[in-house]
């Protein structure tokens, strides 16, 4: 039973960043239930104070990874290192972490105050200090005055705040969150997500957040790790992942994409040029696709634009002509029009400015790609359904 204050002292004494308070390292962690393998030798390093999101479809192993870090599941192989110390064999109660469960797991027989007090009582913090810490925590999560209520008397959002307060009040080294906003409606999810980010920054706690909602991941994270089949497919900042998806899976998982295939004409230092039915399309490229091999590029719908056939534009160097296409359908989305186009390779989706001229259904148009937005992806992974 360490006192709450002790970890701070160890943090001050530790020289390397590896030992800094709130760092986590996952070393080749594998985990399996019965015959199925859930994690397959996963490596991951999380920096102190970072907000890292694990994003992936259900069954990709993200919750299992979180539980392995918390000590709720023992991995079959690999190590979990927190603040430079190997905690793999340590039971959860000795790891000094905070964990927010998807269903909050608030103790129904205790009041809000008693719930938040629980980790402090366990650590034998004196009553006066407990009161102070609880008051501070209630203030941070905005529940001052609600401390006498029972969890059943609170709304979903309030319960979520209590769960957060309870898992932060003992100043844990790392805060682990398992889809904590999943049970709430959209508006509340956004509001609480922002608040969660604020509290995490204010307390300077490292946070590992599990979700399958990409929008949530974008808004909250410093970095996002995309998980699939028990492995980390790609790790990077939200912008990196969106603009430079490593493979078709990541591309398809993070928003709608158009897939365009062509032959590699040349590989330059700045871009790889792909020949698509006669058009030259310069693409960003992190793969090692050989010249004259077939390549797949992804283009986001908002990076496509359409113009009447033959019309030229002043900003020619900012747009690359792709092909001609027929307009199959047009929907109004509010901020944009979504066009469904058919061309030589099947169908395309383009989100075009709602202010511009809307082409008629059946009309033939020229399709342009905004410069520097297309990127080549590894194509060995088949993407999930691109656009709906």
């Amino acid at each position: 039973m360490d006192s709450v204050m002790k970890p701070t002292r160890t943090a001050a004494a530790a020289p390397s960043t590896e030992g800094a308070r709130g760092s986590v390292r996952i070393d080749g962690v594998s985990c399996g239930f019965d015959a199925t393998t859930v994690l397959r030798g996963l490596d991951l390093t999380i920096d102190p104070g970072e907000f890292l999101t694990l994003l992936g479809p259900s069954g990709s192993g993200k919750t299992t990874l979180l539980r392995v870090i918390a000590g709720l599941i023992e991995p079959s192989a690999g190590r979990v290192v927190v603040d430079g110390a190997d905690v793999t064999k340590l039971p959860p109660q000795k790891r000094d972490l905070g964990f927010v469960f998807q269903n909050y797991a608030l103790f129904p027989h205790l009041t809000v105050r008693q719930n938040i007090e629980y980790p402090l009582k366990v650590r034998k913090i004196p009553a006066a200090q407990r009161r102070e810490l609880i008051a501070e925590m209630l203030d941070i999560v905005g529940l001052t005055g609600m401390d006498k209520r029972y969890p059943s008397q609170l709304s979903g959002g309030q319960q979520q705040r209590v769960a957060l307060a309870r898992s932060l009040v003992h100043r844990p080294k790392v805060l682990l969150l398992d889809e904590p906003l999943g049970a709430l409606d959209r508006r509340l999810r956004q509001e609480l997500g922002r608040e969660l980010r604020r509290i995490q920054r204010e307390t300077g706690t490292t946070a590992i957040y599990v979700t399958h909602d990409q929008e949530e991941a974008y808004v909250l994270s410093d970095r996002i790790g995309i998980m699939r089949d028990g492995l980390l497919t790609q790790l990077g900042s939200p912008i990196e992942l969106y603009q430079q998806p490593g493979d078709l899976f990541v591309a398809g998982f993070l928003g709608d994409v158009n897939l365009v295939t062509g032959r590699v004409l040349e590989r330059g230092p700045a871009a790889t040029v792909i020949d698509i039915g006669g058009s030259r399309l310069p693409c960003r490229d992190e793969t090692d696709t050989a010249v004259s091999a077939e390549a797949t590029c992804v283009i986001r719908p908002e990076h496509l634009s359409v113009r009447a056939i033959g019309s030229t534009s002043a900003a020619e160097h900012e747009q690359h002509y792709l092909a001609n296409a027929f307009v199959d359908d047009a929907y109004f989305l509010g901020q944009a029009f979504r066009l469904k186009l058919s061309w030589q390779q099947g169908s395309l989706t383009a989100d075009v400015d709602a202010g511009g001229r809307l082409p008629a259904v059946g009309e033939e148009v020229s399709v342009f790609v905004r410069a520097g937005t297309a990127s080549v992806v590894r194509s060995r992974e088949s993407a999930p359904q691109a656009t709906q």
């Binding site: 539980r67 709720l72 109660q93 998807q102 797991a105 103790f107 129904p108 027989h109 319960q159």
Partner: protein, 585 residues
């Protein structure tokens, strides 16, 4: 989930309008009349075979001589004063209380670890073990008691074992120890089922949350798990206590002359035609039982402070139990409980093949003559036939009445009226069987029904109906009204819809209600022993042999009964697995 809840919630208030179509007041009147007509047989049954016997006993309890007069009833408290002050009676009462208390404590101590382990197992394995708990539940009590008399006898397995390891022999039969063991064996399945139902609703994430917050397993158990489990444990204990207080069969078979309990005393008094004190004691038992059930209801109904436990994700169910000493201790208890439950059931097989006129374990020699004697002795076949006829009639009648009442109750929008009806419907459960037995005995003598199958069927339907009703009512309460409405829009009449949509979709529950009602009748000795005419039911015949000395045919018929239960359970499992493929009804 929430999307499917809202439409039904919105439907509920508009439902009365749909109940009564354009016909107006006349339609309203007609449906009310139909409602009353449908419940009329049930009212008659309860009136004649439940309330009349109870009033009869109540009047006798107030008569100093225990006589009953409906025109000039006596009101004296002599009998009750004696029940409270007579030193012999007080010894009996305190003994009954003590026995019930021991039984409750032992049952809880053994039942909790087992229920806990079951609640943490994978559902498949848990249901397999629950089956092992259910087998003894379906074997007639007299059979299990017979086995216990053999196992606990001076030359029985237990004493042979203790002698072999040098502890010597213990007097285990016809005393308090035997009674407590017998009552524990009887109550354990019920206790485990009650606790299992409650404990499996506790969110395992709560304990995990306590761990992540820094609590040790012991601390998490006492500060988080136990507070969640407390209402279930207390209601299980109260239920066991109340049931144990009015126990008749176990103390009568396993207890010695000095282990007379209140129920045994009542039966012995009636055999001597001494109605006064027996009636007063029966009424006292009834009042204690009512208080006990009242407490249980309050505990389970009112004291649930808690968020609606949302079922956690699959990971928590797979959360393996760590091998702490407490878990290992629980596993040991699990083994002990299974030996306690299954030994009395399985020992009948070796007993039934032994040669010689004495029933001993381990058996000497090998013979199948006792099985053939069952078919030739002339006492078993008629008893078996009578039990089957009475049991099936009870089942059919109970299910029919349960369907009619359930249908009527669910149309009643008035909450107070509905809870009154439900309370009355469950009244036989609260009534100690010995009290009902003597009341029925008296009433059926007046009606010249005593000894007839009809009389026994009516008596058994009274005690079996509440069980069938609770199963069917909860099944019909879950039936989706929109299914019926859909059928109406397709032109199906109400009667037709009821049979083709409602009854068909709940066939599983209706069958289990029938089986439950049959089992109540099949197991009963307390009421049936007062209804002996020319023929007796099977359990009563076995019981009379237990009283007067066991013949070797008893283990033979017992093993056939156990075999019947095992076959029945296997068949129901197979049918259930086939039925499950159709998807949820």
């Amino acid at each position: 989930m929430s999307t499917s809840v809202t439409p039904t919630a919105r439907l509920a208030p508009t439902e009365p309008e749909q109940e009564v179509p354009a016909a107006g007041t006349r339609g309203r009147w007609r449906s009310a009349t139909v409602g009353v007509a449908v419940v009329l047989p049930l009212l008659a049954l309860y009136g004649i075979f439940l309330f009349w016997p109870l009033i009869d006993i109540l009047l006798r309890s107030f008569d100093p001589l225990g006589e009953v007069s409906y025109t000039r009833p006596n009101f004296s408290f002599t009998n009750f004063t004696q029940v409270g002050t007579d030193s012999l009676l007080r010894i009996i009462e305190l003994r009954t209380l003590r026995l019930a208390l021991y039984t409750t404590l032992i049952t809880t101590v053994l039942g909790f670890p087992v229920a806990y382990l079951l609640s943490r197992m994978r559902p498949r394995r848990a249901s397999l073990l629950l089956l092992g708990i259910l087998v003894p539940f379906f074997v007639p009590t007299v059979v299990r008691l017979f086995s216990l008399t053999v196992l606990l006898s001076p030359d029985g397995v237990v004493n042979s074992f203790t002698e072999a390891i040098g502890l010597g022999k213990f007097p285990l039969l016809f005393n308090t120890t035997a009674t407590v063991i017998g009552m524990t064996v009887y109550q354990l399945p019920v206790m485990i089922l009650i606790l299992y139902a409650g404990l499996s609703r506790i969110d395992t994430n709560l304990t995990l949350a306590a761990h992540t917050l820094g609590a040790s397993p012991t601390r998490a158990f006492f500060t988080v798990y136990l507070p969640q489990a407390r209402p279930t444990v207390i209601s299980g204990m109260l239920f066991t206590m109340v049931l144990s207080l009015s126990f008749f069969l176990v103390p009568s078979v396993l207890g010695g002359p000095r282990d007379q309990t209140m129920s045994v005393f009542i039966q012995q008094q009636i055999e001597l035609f001494q109605w006064g004190q027996a009636s007063a004691m029966g009424i006292v038992l009834l009042i204690i039982t009512m208080i006990g059930y009242g407490l249980t209801l309050r505990l389970t109904g009112g004291a649930t402070v808690g968020v609606p436990t949302t079922v956690a994700k699959g990971t928590s169910n797979r959360e393996p139990l760590r091998g702490t000493p407490a878990v290992w201790g629980s596993r040991v208890v699990l083994v002990i409980v299974f030996i306690l439950l299954l030994a009395p059931v399985l020992v009948v097989f070796p007993l039934s093949i032994g040669t010689g006129q004495q029933v001993v374990f381990p058996p000497r020699g090998f013979t199948l003559t006792w099985f053939s004697q069952v078919f030739t002795a002339g006492v078993w076949i008629p008893a078996f036939t009578k039990s089957v006829i009475v049991g099936i009639s009870t089942a059919v009648l109970s299910v029919a009445l349960a369907l009619s009442l359930s249908r009527t109750v669910q149309r009643i929008r008035n909450r107070a009226l509905r809870s009154i009806i439900l309370a009355v419907a469950f009244a036989p459960v609260i009534t100690p069987h010995i009290l009902l037995a003597i009341g029925l005995y008296d009433v059926e003598i007046r009606l010249h029904l005593i000894g007839s199958n009809v009389g026994l069927i009516m008596a058994h339907t009274v005690i079996a109906f509440p069980l069938a009703f609770s199963i069917i009512n909860s099944a019909l309460a879950q039936s989706d009204i929109t299914l019926e409405q859909a059928a109406w829009t397709m032109g199906s009449s109400r009667t037709r819809t009821f049979w083709l949509v409602v009854v068909r979709s709940k066939l599983g529950s209706i069958v289990s209600a029938g089986v439950a009602a049959f089992m109540v009748s099949w197991d009963d000795v307390v009421i049936a022993q007062f209804q002996n005419g020319l023929s007796k039911t099977l359990p009563v015949v076995i019981y009379s042999y237990l009283d007067s000395g066991v013949v070797p045919a008893v283990p033979a018929i017992s093993s056939m009964l156990v075999l019947l239960v095992i076959v029945g359970l296997v068949v129901s499992l197979v049918v259930g697995r086939v039925g499950a493929r159709r998807g949820p009804a």
